[in-house]
């Protein structure tokens, strides 16, 4: 366990780069630029080019484990090799959305915080406190809890009303924020839920929020920053497909950089205060 980035170090990176950008390395072998063969090694090489072209513009990379698991054991190696390519001052998030009973969570924590040694992992909090507590045993590592997700299905349960009059997602945020603190916990809030973001900021005035859904899923950058940024920033705004697949030919890395640059520049409104 060697990779650690503190809240203070993250705040500094965000301000230094004037960027909330988190790039999602949801690399799909079948969507690689046409010059690549379709195998796990090609995925690592593609990721390397993307990382080389964008690492001065972003403060985090998020690796969606599903895309690597779909390649089997080779995918797991590919995940590990990609992690090794990321500069050490950039936050590495395993987007795994795990959630299980305590003795199982302890094994997941081992997989992600020891074997892969990422800084942070996304978790589903619905099995309750004891399903999350094993991750907190790893001092310096981050858990990122699902708050309110960006997909249509968020309406099925997360946005339903509880007996207390609150929405389920509000109950989840209010309860789970006390399992850790702003120095070891972040929350996922979809960019398509801007209406809810202001209320969520009242519940979580200090926590980093990881916001997916700008770009392919239709969330609006300016609205997200207005509703979600604090004095310190405390936002990670994720884009994946719009950057990775900005071009499907030889200039994919340059186009990915252009797209990342545009996104970063559109974040400037968060740094004018």
């Amino acid at each position: 366990m060697t990779r650690i980035l503190s809240l203070k170090e993250l705040d500094i990176q965000v301000k230094k780069k004037k960027s909330f950008l988190c790039i999602g390395l949801d690399t799909d072998m079948n969507k690689l630029p046409t010059q690549y063969v379709r195998n796990a090694l090609a995925v690592v090489n593609f990721n390397r080019q993307i990382i080389d072209a964008t690492n001065d513009l972003c403060v985090a990379y998020k690796l969606n484990t599903a895309f690597y698991e779909a390649m089997g054991a080779k995918g797991w190696d590919c995940l590990k090799q990609t992690i090794e390519l990321i500069p050490k001052d950039i936050l590495i998030i395993a987007d795994a959305k795990r959630g299980d009973i305590g003795n199982t969570s302890a094994m997941y924590a081992k997989a992600f915080f020891e074997d892969l040694d990422v800084h942070a992992i996304t978790l589903s909090p619905y099995m309750g406190k004891d399903s999350v507590s094993p991750y907190y045993e790893y001092e310096g590592k981050w858990t990122i809890m699902l708050g309110l997700t960006s997909n249509e299905g968020a309406k099925d349960f997360q946005m339903q009303k509880m007996k207390s009059g609150k929405h389920l997602y509000e109950e989840v945020l209010e309860t789970s924020k006390d399992w850790g603190n702003e120095k070891n916990t972040m929350f996922v809030v979809g960019a398509t839920r801007v209406d809810a973001l202001k209320g969520i900021r009242e519940i979580l005035p200090e926590h980093f929020l990881l916001v997916p859904g700008v770009g392919s899923q239709g969330g609006d950058m300016e609205e997200v920053i207005k509703a979600g940024a604090t004095e310190e920033g405390r936002l990670l705004i994720n884009a994946s497909r719009s950057i990775l697949y900005a071009d499907d030919g030889k200039s994919f890395a340059a186009k990915a950089r252009e797209e990342a640059m545009q996104l970063k520049l559109s974040m400037d409104i968060g740094f004018t205060k």
Copy 2:
């Protein structure tokens, strides 16, 4: 995609073997019998002995992915090799509790239903219908949705009351049961929740229920069967640690068989009707 077991075939297996037993291959390298070295190959060899000693007594094996992921890429191979050792009339469940947006779920479905080719995967339904629908594209495969879990933390959210007066887990069951049907969907209900099991059976009169928590977690076999078994059976009762680690020396496989046999015999009350 070659491994398929239909509801009818499962019903036949349960009746033929007079068994609801699902054996959880949550194999922890550090808990292997003392004669084993601690590596991934040893885990496969241990699993082989457990499977050889118990496959006439159980109707399902459940592989908890966390225990394999904790070994990295080798763990994924180990998962695949273990799956190959299981006789073809026995249900293979990947206990993965995945849950993510649609395009990510499609990748998990590929990982589990194509690459690993298991019959069934456990899923967290809290991200809603579109997070689960990609799994239903695989005809003949099973999804197993978290209903009410066996751990203490189930009280944090699952057992909270909704505005409708129902518990959250009841809302989840009532909504998600219509995403599929009893021929492609099962639900997880913890053995420590017997009080709730009767009500859950009223919501789900036809579905298979996967019941963990008998044994190490303290659930009572007779009560689970009385409250949960239907005319057709439709129960999978899981035991993991009590079987795998029945003995830590050379006779571990024989002791595992003894423990599995005792559990199977204690299920006889479900087959006297």
